[in-house]
């Protein structure tokens, strides 16, 4: 069995550490790029949301490098993500690729026993004994958490750094170094080292950079290719950004959902504007917008793929939050047709708006 996975941000790094530890054969497809997008768009239904198309591109690249099994997380969720695995299975069948799908779904939907069965299929490939397996899983989970932490530190400190561009360089070299390492223990060590380095980066807290919260649909905020590397762009503009949705957040959220203790703070914050669960991460998006205003952010940027059902609802709610909480917001909708020029113009203009607005407030008007 040779496993491949679809991309979502830095998840592939944790997966690599996991499979290296378990000794399971795997293929990581090339990072999302134009080729994955054009392949995916060619074979997917036109109206489906962007993540599905990119995933198809990833699978095809993985299969071409010898993968015969696709490992995917699912949610049986009340947004289209819930039908991804079925639809993708059909598409790959139609393309006459002979692959197996292993969908790690939510406990609520498939039950504990079925979940363990599915994990067992992957687990039985590993020659490690049980404690060794558990060890590998914990290590991969730790790696994911550390990586998310490094990333969020880099994004936030980009506004405060003394040497411009240092955060970005550090983040990039961290990713490439950890990826080129095939020993899981060493990889984790590299990550911990970078965690220290990013912590000790030279910052000047007297700076008062523009602070922006990145909110919206989870895949498009995490996967930089889909949002045209918005976080990198903002780092270059010395803007501090914060993004609550990360792969490790998602994992924690999924686990805590079983005992209904997930993301309490966010959901509480969303109560005023969206007290109901409407699928996807719409409530989280609304909650994050409210929290951003409480935490003194200058603005929020919402990103979601064209046709995303839950985010369309939150998009309709955001102007009200914007008015009541006096927090400027920008909604960006991305798909394979997104024109880079207009997109960047909007981001730049939004940051200008925030800067000028702040100067105006300081001037006492």
């Amino acid at each position: 069995m040779k496993i491949t996975i679809p991309h979502m941000g830095n998840v592939y790094i944790a997966v690599k550490i996991l499979f290296d530890g378990l000794g399971i054969d795997y293929v990581i497809p090339p990072l999302n790029n134009k080729e994955a997008l054009s392949l995916g768009s060619k074979y997917s239904p036109e109206e489906i949301c962007l993540p599905l198309k990119l995933m198809i591109g990833n699978y095809i690249a993985g299969i071409k490098s010898g993968a015969d099994t696709i490992l995917l997380v699912g949610s049986c969720g009340p947004c289209r993500f819930g039908e991804y695995s079925e639809l993708q299975l059909k598409i790959l069948e139609y393309l006459e690729y002979n692959v197996d799908f292993i969908v790690i779904d939510a406990v609520k939907s498939i039950g504990m026993r079925e979940l363990f069965n599915r994990i067992q299929i992957v687990g039985s490939e590993s020659k490690k004994r049980f404690p060794g397996k558990i060890n590998s899983v914990i290590r991969a989970y730790n790696a994911m958490c550390i990586l998310d932490e490094i990333e969020s530190q880099a994004h936030f400190k980009a506004g405060y750094e003394k040497n411009k561009g240092e955060c970005k360089r550090l983040l990039n070299s961290c990713k490439s170094e950890v990826l080129s390492c095939n020993q899981p223990d060493k990889a984790l060590k590299i990550l911990k080292e970078y965690q220290k380095r990013i912590k000790n980066i030279a910052v000047d807290y007297s700076k008062n950079p523009i602070k922006v919260a990145i909110i919206g649909e989870i895949y498009t905020v995490i996967e930089p290719f889909t949002n045209l590397f918005i976080e990198d762009v903002l780092m270059d503009m010395s803007v501090s950004t914060k993004r609550n949705l990360t792969p490790s957040w998602w994992l924690k959220d999924m686990l805590l959902k079983i005992i209904k203790l997930n993301s309490m703070k966010l959901l509480k914050a969303s109560n005023e504007f969206l007290p109901l669960y409407i699928g996807g991460h719409a409530r989280e998006c609304v909650g994050e917008a409210v929290l951003a205003s409480r935490e003194g952010f200058d603005g929020a940027i919402q990103i979601f793929p064209m046709g995303c059902m839950p985010e369309i609802v939150s998009k309709a709610i955001l102007p009200t939050i914007s008015r009541e909480k006096k927090l400027p917001m920008l909604s960006l909708i991305v798909d394979e047709m997104t024109g880079e020029a207009g997109y960047m113009t909007r981001i730049e203009a939004f940051i200008d708006l925030l800067e000028r607005r702040r100067e105006h407030v300081f001037a006492g008007n």
């Binding site: 790029n33 045209l228 590397f229 780092m235 270059d236 010395s238 960047m344 203009a349 200008d352 000028r356």
Partner: protein, 326 residues
């Protein structure tokens, strides 16, 4: 000392010179024709006849070709069109609350309160009603674009045109022509349809309050102007330099920046009009990002790069998308 503003748009390239009090002393307007670098050289060759390099205090570029123009000229500031237009509008009318801007290929609305931009929107799905669409229709009807608006004013009964999409608007117009409607009525109907389209797409959900300013190349079209006034039921002002407002904004911002930072301008001089500029693009395959990198060559020497995400080629800064932050 003058501040130079250059707006390299999809349809036209404009240049303005502002004096110390931000009054327009010179303005030039040429068609870009898909060759932004040649257009900049053309306006420079023209302006060089009257001014010399030492009179230039600062340079700003804006418009969709702002990056390439900044590399070419050595601009002090590179600003997006939205900010540039807003700054120019506030400079012209202190108490402006709404800016309608329709250019060659995009249309925007900018909401301003107390002299600060509070919201904006830009067309995302359709280019109906922008300059290039009107150009095409004028050409098809055999009317010079300059007279297009006046024809609309002569209309007695505007015909209703389906303006949701540029292509359908065109077929609807052809259909109405075949039915024998008067050309003036069709043009007036088209103006109404395009304004409807703008208000329901770009300006959707925006609070349009007076004073309203209408700028951008399309503001020259009196038919569209009247349609806006009719639809909004309020006076819509057209500033004197409506056609070069982007360049005016860029020049104002450039002056602000140079005087704030007390630096000297990076301006390379009008002599670049005689240089030979070329751009080359290639796909960098050093990593899986596969960026399409553009390099600008001046007399065969590379003077700037953009498009690389890692910043490897960009000598000005580690820029993600080519937004050079000098």
């Amino acid at each position: 000392m003058y501040s130079l503003g250059i707006d390299v748009g999809s349809v036209s390239t404009n240049l303005v010179l502002l004096d110390n009090n931000n009054n327009v002393v010179e303005k030039l307007y040429v068609r870009t024709k898909g060759r932004p670098m040649e257009a900049v050289q053309l306006v420079f060759a023209e302006i060089q006849k009257k001014y010399d390099d030492r009179q230039i205090y600062s340079v700003g570029t804006t418009g969709s070709g702002r990056m390439i123009a900044s590399i070419q000229t050595g601009a002090d500031i590179v600003k997006n069109e939205i900010t540039a237009h807003a700054v120019a509008a506030i400079q012209t009318e202190r108490d402006v609350k709404t800016v309608l801007e329709i250019g060659g290929q995009d249309s925007k609305i900018i909401i301003i309160r107390d002299g600060v931009v509070t919201d904006f929107a830009m067309n995302t799905v359709c280019a109906a009603g922008t300059g290039s669409f009107l150009d095409r229709q004028a050409e098809r009807l055999g009317i010079p674009i300059e007279e297009f608006g006046d024809h609309a004013l002569k209309a007695t009964v505007p015909v209703r045109i389906a303006g949701r999409c540029a292509v359908f608007a065109e077929s609807d117009m052809i259909h109405k022509q075949q039915l024998g409607y008067n050309t003036c009525d069709i043009i007036a109907g088209l103006c109404d349809a395009l304004v409807r389209n703008y208000l329901s797409n770009v300006a959707k959900g925006k609070d349009i309050l007076p004073k309203v300013i209408f700028q951008g190349g399309v503001a020259a079209n009196s038919g569209i102007h009247r349609a806006f006034e009719k639809a909004l039921n309020m006076p819509v002002l057209i500033p004197e330099h409506y056609d070069v407002m982007g360049a005016v904004g860029a020049a104002i911002l450039a002056r602000e920046k140079v005087s704030r930072e007390k630096t000297k301008t990076h301006f390379k001089g009008f002599s670049i009009s005689a240089s030979s500029f070329k751009s080359k693009s290639f796909v960098c395959s050093d990593c899986s990002n596969q960026c399409e990198v553009v390099s600008v060559l001046e007399n065969q020497q590379p003077v700037g790069y953009f498009g690389d995400r890692c910043g490897k080629y960009n000598r000005f800064s580690a820029s993600a998308t080519g937004i050079a932050m000098h």
